[in-house]
């Protein structure tokens, strides 16, 4: 068909040429001629028409006889589609193109391994003040090999931000190498400034660093976390499993613009909890206590001191001050011996502060009655060793004393007589029941167990039993002493001195709390009530007059113990203490102050420790707005001078001015009533208590 058309076209062209030629011959071609020439194409078309008409008259078939070109085009398109289908199959089904696994390549592109650093939980006090928290600090690394600028210029730019001279920075940085640590502990501000410089080759690595805003206020209680993030001592170490939060390295997806995709983000990173370790301590009270303790220690040049303020109803510590202290933010500047909390870790011999416990034991055993009297000779012999009262040289024999008066005067001989009413076996059993030989049940770390004489030694030696009655010959930690006295104050029910309330949310609800101690009685409530009444008399009438605050019922007991080293009691080395319980008939607070080695002639419990307790109690009353139990006495000259200078100890130990001279409850003690209990054995091989 095609060739036929070509033939026709050729003949038509030839005819046209002939027609044109004839027209050149003569300009004027007749119309009929022209028409004839133009008529040819129609005839041509008609002829082809006829030809195709003849083909059309056939029934409809698949156009197999279409032109080849059409077939080629169709074939090319089909090939293209097949290619696309194959590519689709390759991409979607097989997912491997050019030996590249597409899923892996995509994952490689947007996956990133992160090791999330979640800040350590903060530690807060009773009222929400933050005592320990994490802060972001940056370490600046330089890679001088990758500097686009000269190292000198870079150093010059950094010098201003780092507050060092350009030479110093250049020296740190060097001019070659990579990964050079230039500076550490940069703040967020400094890091921001360095980032804004946009210098190639500088690197800021963030890390969390623990910050202690209250500096040395809670140093021994909290402990510290060193620069490597390792916790050392204190609550930081004890509760590190509850404070530390960490996630293993996880793979998360990242978009091209650096934003994270939510599908694989670990939930802890997106919704971290706001828990903080809430303590029972009160910052304000701690500050007040620190102030008064520090003042008194400076005055008497004491080696160290500790004050424990406890709520006796549940054993929560409101304040735990140990001096000297250190700044945990700069722990590297501090002496390593300061890192221990000596109120919890070190033993001491309690002395007369232990006497109320003994009286309670005797009363509980019904060995004595509260109305009993004993005869106080002033000096006796036991097992070949002399035992005398502290004021024996001054007043001699005490005469017939009631039990309460024994405590008031802190008579050693009286105590020996009282406790001799208790069979030694029973006495020892009771001492064991006090759990002295075990560490205190507390959440402060490294509590040292007390030391009690062996049973055999105790049963054999009369003098040991005798010295036990006035608190020498047993050693325990100040916290354990506070626990025993608090148990007495709590109606005889065991308490657990603790510092941690639990893990608290921001709104105050607790996620975790330590298990409360079940109710277990040590003494009966009646016994404790009786002993507390006697302690009230100690303050009203006895050796601790200096602690009384008008309108408030305070009870207490002073104690001055001689310190021993290597089995020998050191002269002039005393450890003075005082415990104050308030309000005495429904006890709520217990303040226990211990001062180690106060210097001076008249450094006794009543002069050193009592004023501290008084100041602490007055601050406590004011801070917690505790109303007086009785209306306050009208102010007169003596009370006003006394309240304005509460720390004035009178230093005149004239024997004539005995303890009974001033019966008014407001005047400061006129005599230092508690001299050293000098037990006979100056050189006896008594087991030395842990020399703190």
């Amino acid at each position: 068909m095609v060739s036929f058309r070509r033939q026709r076209l050729r003949s038509e062209y030839a005819r046209k040429q002939r027609g044109l030629k004839s027209s050149f011959k003569s300009q004027e071609t007749p119309l009929s001629q022209r028409r004839q020439s133009t008529r040819q194409p129609t005839r041509r078309r008609a002829a082809t028409n006829n030809h195709s008409v003849s083909s059309q008259s056939r029934p409809l078939n698949f156009p197999l006889n279409l032109s080849m070109r059409l077939w080629l085009v169709w074939g090319a398109i089909v090939l293209g589609i097949c290619g696309l289908i194959y590519r689709l199959y390759q991409l979607q089904v097989v997912q491997v193109v050019n030996d590249v696994n597409l899923a892996e390549a995509a994952a490689y592109q947007h996956s990133v391994n992160i090791t999330p650093v979640i800040p350590r939980r903060p530690i807060v006090d009773r009222f929400g003040n933050v005592l320990a928290m994490d802060q972001v600090r940056y370490t600046l690394y330089a890679h001088p090999d990758m500097f686009s600028d000269t190292p000198e210029n870079v150093a010059a730019q950094l010098a201003g931000i780092l507050e060092k001279s350009q030479e110093a920075v250049l020296k740190e940085m060097g001019t070659t190498g990579t990964g050079v640590k230039v500076e550490q502990d940069l703040t967020e501000d400094q890091a921001e400034k360095i980032r804004n410089l946009i210098i190639d080759g500088l690197d800021l690595a963030p890390h969390q660093q623990r910050l202690y805003p209250s500096a040395d206020l809670f140093a021994q209680v909290l402990g510290f976390v060193d620069l490597n993030g390792q916790e050392q001592t204190g609550l930081e170490q004890e509760f590190s499993s509850r404070l530390k939060r960490s996630l293993p390295t996880t793979e998360v997806d990242r978009m091209g613009n650096g934003l994270f995709l939510p599908d694989r983000m670990p939930e802890q990173l997106v919704y971290p909890d706001n828990l903080s370790l809430k303590l029972t301590l009160d910052s304000r009270l701690q500050r007040a206590v620190t102030d008064s303790l520090k003042a008194q220690m400076t005055k008497f040049s004491a080696k160290r001191g500790a004050v424990i303020v406890m709520d006796v109803r549940d054993g929560s510590l409101l304040s735990l001050v140990t001096l000297p202290s250190y700044n945990p933010n700069r722990y590297y500047d501090a002496d390593i011996s300061l890192f221990r909390n000596w109120a919890v870790n070190d033993l001491y011999e309690p002395g007369s502060t232990f006497k109320p416990i003994n009286v309670a034991i005797a009363l509980e055993n019904k060995a004595i009655q509260p109305t009993d009297t004993i005869y106080d000779e002033g000096q006796i012999q036991r097992g070949g060793w002399p035992i005398q009262n502290h004021d024996y040289n001054a007043v001699g024999a005490g005469g017939s004393l009631s039990i309460s008066q024994v405590l008031q005067r802190s008579s050693n001989v009286g105590m020996v007589h009282i406790m001799e009413q208790v069979p030694p076996q029973t006495y020892y059993e009771w001492l064991e029941r006090l759990e002295i030989g075990q560490p205190v049940n507390t959440d402060l770390p490294l509590a040292t167990p007390g030391q009690l004489r062996d049973r055999e030694l105790f049963m054999e030696s009369v003098v040991d039993r005798a010295t036990m009655t006035f608190g020498q010959g047993v050693s325990l930690t100040p916290l354990q002493m506070a626990q025993l006295l608090g148990t007495l104050a709590n109606g005889g029910r065991w308490i657990r001195p603790h510092v941690v309330q639990g893990l608290a949310n921001a709104d105050g609800t607790f996620e975790w709390q330590p298990e409360p101690l079940g109710a277990k009685q040590l003494f009966s409530p009646e016994t404790s009530h009786l002993v507390l009444g006697m302690m009230r008399d100690v303050v009203n009438i006895g050796t601790a007059k200096g602690v009384s605050i008008s309108g408030y019922d305070i009870g207490g007991k002073t104690g001055t113990a001689q310190k021993a080293a290597n089995g020998v009691y050191i002269d002039r080395a005393r450890i003075t203490s005082f415990v104050g319980i308030f309000p005495i008939y429904e006890p709520r607070y217990l303040v226990f102050a211990v001062i180690d080695e106060p210097q001076g002639e008249h450094a006794y419990g009543s002069t050193v420790a009592v004023p501290i307790v008084r100041q602490v109690l007055s601050t406590l009353i004011s801070l917690y707005s505790i109303p007086p139990s009785e209306p306050p006495k009208p102010v007169d000259a003596s009370t006003s001078t006394e309240s304005s200078t509460p720390t004035t100890p009178t230093e005149s130990p004239t024997p004539a001015e005995s303890t009974e001279s001033s019966t008014s409850t407001e005047s400061p003690p006129s005599t230092p009533v508690e001299s050293t209990d000098s037990p006979s054995p100056e050189s006896s091989p008594q087991s030395d208590p842990g020399q703190g």
């Binding site: 129609t42 078309r45 008609a46 028409n49 195709s52 008409v53 059309q56 008259s57 029934p59 409809l60 800040p119 903060p122 003040n129 933050v130 928290m133 994490d134 802060q135 972001v136 967020e188 910050l211 805003p213 209250s214 500096a215 978009m255 613009n257 934003l259 994270f260 995709l261 939510p262 983000m265 997106v270 500050r287 007040a288 102030d291 605050i549 008008s550 309108g551 408030y552 100041q615 007055s618 601050t619 009353i621 004011s622 801070l623 707005s625 109303p627 007086p628 306050p632 102010v635 309240s643």
Partner: protein
């Protein structure tokens, strides 16, 4: 020209206005040469725009094709829309997470600053300001008294005593 147009018309039925069949006036000059037939033998004029009669199976397939095309278009639009929303929501989440991280950092900084301010206050307060710790002798404790008994008040009149003239 007309003949060419006619040849491309996708008409399966072999019905075409041919000179062999009908004598329509559409044909060009050629037709004009023909002699007009007599009225008696005028053939039937069939209109070109008559609807095509398709077989049932073909109509069925066509209906399926059209509906599936529509469905595919709708699904395509929905797919694109959901994909766009997924990407956008992820983008929004990422931005919100960045904001959250920034806020957390700020919270830490603010807490640290707050605490150091408190320390600063304490430092300035304890140095030579004459401030001292509070003392119970400075405090006044008041006993709360019993509240006064409630006195019944007569109900007030809701209508005001004076009526205001309208004229003012």
């Amino acid at each position: 020209m007309v003949a060419a147009a006619q040849s491309s018309y996708p008409n399966p039925s072999p019905r075409r206005p041919r000179s062999s069949r009908s004598k329509s006036a559409v044909s060009a000059p050629r037709r004009s040469l023909q002699v007009a037939p007599s009225v008696a033998s005028r053939p039937k004029v069939t209109s070109l725009s008559k609807a095509l009669e398709l077989p049932l199976w073909l109509r069925f397939i066509l209906a399926i094709q059209q509906s599936s095309s529509l469905l595919v278009m709708i699904l395509g639009v929905l797919t694109l829309g959901s994909y766009a929303s997924v990407v956008y929501s992820q983008h929004r989440w990422g931005q919100a997470y960045e904001t959250l991280e920034g806020l957390r950092q700020e919270e830490y900084q603010v807490t640290a600053i707050n605490e150091s301010l408190k320390e600063n206050l304490v430092d300035t307060a304890t140095k030579n300001t004459g401030l001292k710790w509070p003392d119970p002798s400075d405090m006044v404790f008041l006993e709360p008294t019993t509240p006064r008994p409630i006195v019944e008040m007569p109900p007030t009149d809701t209508v005001p005593a004076t009526t205001f003239p309208l004229g003012y």
